[in-house]
């Protein structure tokens, strides 16, 4: 059955278009999607997922589990960068170790959204506040990562940006604002708003996601060459760490009896790594770290792994346990 789930997932349009994007790069096709379009599509996805989540939340209301889930989410986004930092420090300098640790403590919204559409395809329910959990997991890891680097380099802030600066930036980054904002608006505007926006935020959502994954395939594949430099240690890291984090997630969800849908999303949040928000923040806060390392790792290894194999695998384990 596990295999069946994976095969079904491989046969879903979003994953197939992700492959198409990768193939296009491999056969050196001139197929490309303008950057402003990538930006627009990703904003649309955050807009829609945030708004729909808010509407859900407004219907369901805050139930007991909410604090538990948010708590677990934030806890993991603090723990992951710490433990991965020490693993990474055995092979990399402090700057790159901290940078990569931060990306894995944070999350990938697109992986999350793909998991949401995976659940939708199987009519498995999940709670609106999982979107809040996603938003809250984006930033803490950045701060942890930077603090670790500052500590181990005993370096006073070298680009006029105090830890506060990082903190502020981490919290005001575009995707956090977009998700939380849309979520709150979803809560406030309620049923009428929902109905009016549904064709835009819900009906075409899956289609836009599918088209966007084509773009992700192009982006990911372009990062494969730079990967080669980073060597087998990092590539292994990019697959094993998500598996460890997923295992922790699945275990915790089982222990706390979190319902299947939420459990998958939480697990995917733990297992995914950021390739936009964190790299951007790190690029500014830690110019010494090499983006040629931390971007390809999350974008060309962990992202495809989660989208193609991870999601169905985690789902299977959760069902098997629960």
């Amino acid at each position: 059955m596990n295999l069946q789930l994976i095969i079904d997932n491989l046969g879903s349009p979003p994953v197939l278009f992700f492959f198409l994007g990768m193939i296009a790069v491999m056969i050196k096709s001139d197929l490309e999607i303008p950057q402003s379009i990538s930006k627009f599509l990703s904003l649309y996805l955050l807009f829609s997922i945030g708004f729909s989540g808010g509407v859900e939340l407004q219907h369901s209301g805050i139930n007991a589990e909410v604090l538990l889930n948010l708590g677990l989410a934030i806890a993991m986004s603090v723990i992951v960068p710490v433990y991965t930092f020490f693993i990474l420090k055995t092979r990399l300098d402090v700057y790159n170790a901290g940078a990569i640790a931060a990306t894995y403590g944070s999350i990938s919204a697109v992986t999350f959204i793909t998991a949401v559409s995976f659940l939708a395809d199987r009519q498995v329910e999940f709670d609106g506040y999982m979107i809040a959990a996603m938003a809250m997991m984006e930033s803490p890891a950045i701060i942890i990562g930077v603090i670790l680097i500052r500590f181990y380099t005993k370096e006073t802030d070298n680009n006029g940006k105090g830890t506060n600066g990082i903190f502020k930036e981490a919290l005001t980054n575009g995707s956090v604002v977009m998700i939380l904002g849309s979520l709150i608006i979803g809560i406030l505007s309620g049923t009428d708003g929902e109905a009016a926006l549904k064709p835009f935020t819900k009906d075409i959502f899956k289609g836009v996601l599918t088209f966007f994954l084509l773009d992700m395939g192009l982006l990911a594949a372009r990062r494969i060459r730079p990967l080669k430099q980073s060597g087998s240690f990092l590539i292994a890291f990019g697959i094993i760490v998500p598996l460890i984090n997923a295992t922790i997630g699945i275990a915790l969800c089982h222990f706390f009896g979190i319902k299947t849908g939420d459990a998958l999303l939480l697990t995917v949040l733990f297992a995914s790594a950021s390739y936009i928000a964190v790299p951007a923040a790190i690029r500014m806060a830690v110019p010494e770290a090499n983006p040629g390392m931390y971007v390809p790792l999350s974008l060309a290894v962990t992202f495809p792994f989660n989208v193609i194999l991870g999601i169905p695998l985690y789902f299977y384990c959760i069902q098997w346990l629960g």
Partner: protein, 97 residues
């Protein structure tokens, strides 16, 4: 025509803000900015593919007097020391209008 100094700066999109603030502080009234600039340098490729401004450069061009240049050199050096990038200075004739 009037002899002037032409300053060209290429640096990360977000660092460029610091440069522009500097120009405004120093009372430089005229400058030109080109966005979405790609490149390669010590920080590796800036290919704009990261879905985020942070992985693009801005190109800034300033035509100014010798004196204005003097005022800018040191603070510019300080900014680029931190953020990386490049700053070129050359001579040009300004077509006064």
């Amino acid at each position: 025509m009037k002899a002037i100094k032409k300053i060209e700066i290429v640096t990360g999109s977000l660092d460029a803000k610091k440069v522009i603030n500097l120009l405004d502080e120093k009372g430089i009234k005229g400058y030109t900015i080109i966005k979405n600039v790609m490149g390669n340098g010590d920080k590796g490729y800036q290919d704009g593919d990261g879905l985020h401004e942070a992985f693009q450069n801005k190109y800034i061009m300033v035509a100014c007097s010798e004196e204005e240049l003097e005022k800018l050199v040191e603070p510019l050096r300080a900014i680029l020391k931190k953020s990386g990038g490049i700053c070129l200075v050359s001579d040009a004739q300004w077509l006064v209008h």
